[in-house]
Every structure is written in structure tokens, then in C-alpha cells.
Symmetry: C2
Subunit: 226 residues, 2 copies
DNA sequence: AGGACGCTTCGGTCTGCACCGAACTATCCT
DNA sequence: AGGATAGTTCGGTGCAGACCGAAGCGTCCT
């Protein structure tokens, strides 16, 4: 165990991995840049991370694109970040990622947490440590938004599951209902994916929609603790 | 992030933390023993871990009992262990813990995985990556065992959730149904808790019951890769 | 009070490894 | 072919931090 943790424990490697949790694949040079070290040293680090099964890469011409090797690695890093975030005020490499991102198939980041909060505050949702339930008022409310709660409930997967957010240190919604909400946000063009990242951009239409529907006010990116 | 990972990344500290994932509280001297270092060095390590919010302790006379500080820490360690286990054949400090243990309120380890497997193999359960469902045949089967599936389904929490097992690297059952199965196993005295650990002991009655009900044969502890 | 024991603090040693410069290989472009 | 760029390998340097011995503090026991 400590071998793995020691690999993540180095400052330079930690910065590289943080840059990769977005899910994007980066070249060795880009990683050297984020870690603020020379290409030679970067190469050493990347070699170790690949050997350990933390990273994989695919070669495209003279470029090597490195990415996290598995969901388990991603989960591990989020676990470490959660503990790390509970100490100091979190500082993010990528404020966009902290603001709104995709976590598997549902919304995470400030946006994900804000939606969950809004639903709970209005009595539309009850969230426990291990699961949650949409209330009757929530069912009619979500129907207005265009989400078929009953349909989600029938699906062969956890209906509603809280998912701990490493950036916010609070829960957002996963499970069938989380996916349904995310899907609806895409349909309405409230959010759209950014390039190859897991980060999401909130469209101008989205700003209005989210305010009108969930009472979520725009959080200026500048206000994110950088 | 890397500061936290670096703390776990040291061999000695890693061994101490591994000893503590059982949930048991240990004294500084006991931790010195498992880490194979002198009490002085142990004290330094423990100081750092406490400062970082990874451990807490409570003083009882001249003893200091150290334990993991939070569920987030426990989750982080299991995440690291999962990645570490995917590399080499896993070696366990504590084979009892690998065999059967409590994970929050449900069964984990070989036993937890074996029960989930048995249910799936007999078509009593369908498990997806994000949730699961008990079939009709499963509902009658579990009723025979004394588990009220419909009742579990009505509870305000995820009904059935797969939970990745760091020792087995496979899924066991969490959620309401996982908790119900664990509870029933305790009621029937098939398993009992070991001291202050999260490890469980399978009773002689349990051996028979588990074989008859789920077709789970006794896995000799000796067979665990030590 | 005095000794045993658990734990911590201090000072000093030594080793592991992150880091870079220099030199090398591979791919792309013109 | 020749130059530019991405990445790697090798050898050497320097520092952080893990480790221990010695000494100090607090608690328990008799």
C-alpha cells in the first residue's frame, strides 16, 4: 500500500495526477509544465507511475498521451483529495472543474451540490448517508422540469445515491435520478461539455434556467478560491 | 493532496495505518511493534498523522489509543488498498479481516463477496455497476432465510448498492438489503464480532447455515494468501 | 517516596530519491 | 537530408526525512 501512496505523495507527481483527474489525457511535456520540473525528471516520474499501474499512455506519433489507468485510481485520488481538502481551505488547479463537472453520468462540483441542496431545502428530496428518496412534491416538481421520476425509479440501478464531492466536501446526487437530472440539463442546453475534460460549462441559457428552476445564482469563477 | 499521500506513503506509517483499518484503536507501543520501529520514531510518526487529521487519539491513563480520524480516512485507505491490490497478489496483515468483516453495516471480505456471488449465480439478484435489484425468485428465497425484502425496499436509503471490496477486488452487497442480510446473519448467530475489530468470526452454526443456505464452503484460513 | 512503564522531545547520523545537465533516440516537417 | 521537437537514459549532486540513543515528563503501582 505505502508504495502506491508514496508515488502519489511526491509533490511533482501529485501535481501531475491532480491535472489528470479531469480525465483528460496529457502529454509528457504538458505534465512537466504543470509539475514545474524538467522533461528528464518528468520522464522518470511517469515511468514509475506507469509501472505501478496508476497511469497508462498511448503513443500518437512522437507524442505520448498519459491518462489515469482505471476508475479505481480515480476513486483513490478523490479519496485522498477528500481527506486533504478537510485540512486546509481547498486550492484548485482547475476552478472550472470545481464549479461543474461530470462524475460518471451525473453532475458534480458546486453545481451538483447546489442542485442537491436546492431539492433538499424545498423538501423535494430526503438524503441519508447511504441513499435518498424523492418526495411527492419532488416528483411533481421534477415532472415540471421534464424529469420522469417514476421512470427512473423503475430502472435496474440505484435510484438515488449520495456521492461525496472532493471539491465541495458535500454530497451531490448519483444514481438513476442523478443521471436523469444531468441528462435533462444537457437536453435543455443548460450545460455543455468542455473539450476532452470532465469539466462542464454553464451556458447563458443555463444561468437563467438554473436560477429560475433551482434558485441557483451564478458563482463568479473569480470567487473560487484559486 | 501530496502531503496526505506522502504521510501514507512511508513504510512504517503505512503499516500502522493498515493495522488501524480494522477500526480497532491501538496504543503507541502496539503501533511501534507492527511498524517494527522504536517508540521514539513511532511518536514522531503519530504526531504527524494526528496533525494531518488522519488519526485521533484518546488518552486513558498513561496509554494513548490511536484510531482513524474519520470515515473519509477509512475510505481513502481502502481506495489506496484497492489500487495496491490490483498490482501484486494481495498480502494481508490480518487474514481474519480479509475473510469476513463489517463494512459500515453490511458484510464484506470473502464472506460478503461469496454471498453476493451465490445470490447472483442462482438468479436471485442482478447487480449492475451502480445498483442492483432482487428478482422475484430472490424475494421468496430471502423470505425463507428470514429477510423482508419488500420492507427493505421501502426504507429511505439505497436499496441495493454494490460496494467494491479491497481485499477481494470484487463487489459485495451494501444498501438496505446488504444491511438486512448482515443483521439476519447476526440474529442467527452465524457470525459474531471479534473484540473491538471490524473482523467477524464465523461460528460453527454459521458454517453449516452458510453452506446449507448459500452453498458457501468453509475456506480454511490457512488457504488465505498470507 | 521510589521504581516501572508509556510516551515524547532533542540532537545527530545516514540513506533514499528528486532533481538537473548532457547526451541519445524517435518522429515530424520542409 | 537536416533541423526542430518529444521523449528517454545516464551520472552526479544535494536535501529532506526516517531512524535511533539519550534524556525528560507524566501516570500507575506498591
Amino acid at each position: 500500500m505505502s508504495e502506491i501512496a508514496a508515488l502519489v505523495g511526491d509533490r511533482a507527481r501529485g501535481e501531475m495526477l491532480s491535472a489528470l483527474v479531469s480525465g483528460r489525457a496529457l502529454t509528457a511535456k504538458e505534465l512537466a509544465y504543470v509539475a514545474k520540473i524538467t522533461p528528464q525528471t518528468t520522464s522518470e516520474h511517469l515511468g514509475k507511475l506507469v509501472d505501478a499501474g496508476i497511469l497508462t499512455f498511448n503513443t500518437r506519433g512522437r507524442f505520448r498521451y498519459f491518462r489515469l489507468a482505471s476508475a479505481a485510481v480515480s476513486q483513490m485520488l478523490e479519496g485522498i483529495m477528500t481527506v486533504a481538502a478537510s485540512r486546509r481551505v481547498p486550492t484548485f488547479r482547475d476552478p472550472t472543474l470545481a464549479r461543474a463537472r461530470i462524475c460518471y453520468d451525473h453532475l458534480a462540483g458546486e453545481l451538483g451540490v447546489a442542485i442537491a441542496d436546492s431539492l433538499i431545502r424545498h423538501g423535494h428530496l430526503i438524503l441519508g448517508p447511504d441513499g435518498g428518496e424523492v418526495t411527492e412534491s419532488g416528483e411533481t416538481f421534477l415532472a415540471d422540469v421534464g424529469i420522469d421520476v417514476a421512470g427512473s425509479r423503475r430502472r435496474r440501478r440505484a435510484f438515488c445515491r449520495p456521492c461525496l464531492d472532493w471539491s465541495e466536501r458535500r454530497y451531490h446526487l448519483a444514481g438513476a435520478i442523478g443521471a436523469a437530472i444531468a441528462e435533462r440539463c444537457f437536453e435543455m442546453r443548460w450545460v455543455k461539455r468542455i473539450e476532452e475534460s470532465r469539466a462542464l460549462q454553464i451556458t447563458p441559457v443555463g444561468e437563467k434556467g438554473l436560477l429560475a428552476t433551482f434558485g441557483i445564482k451564478r458563482v463568479p469563477v473569480a470567487a473560487c478560491k484559486q
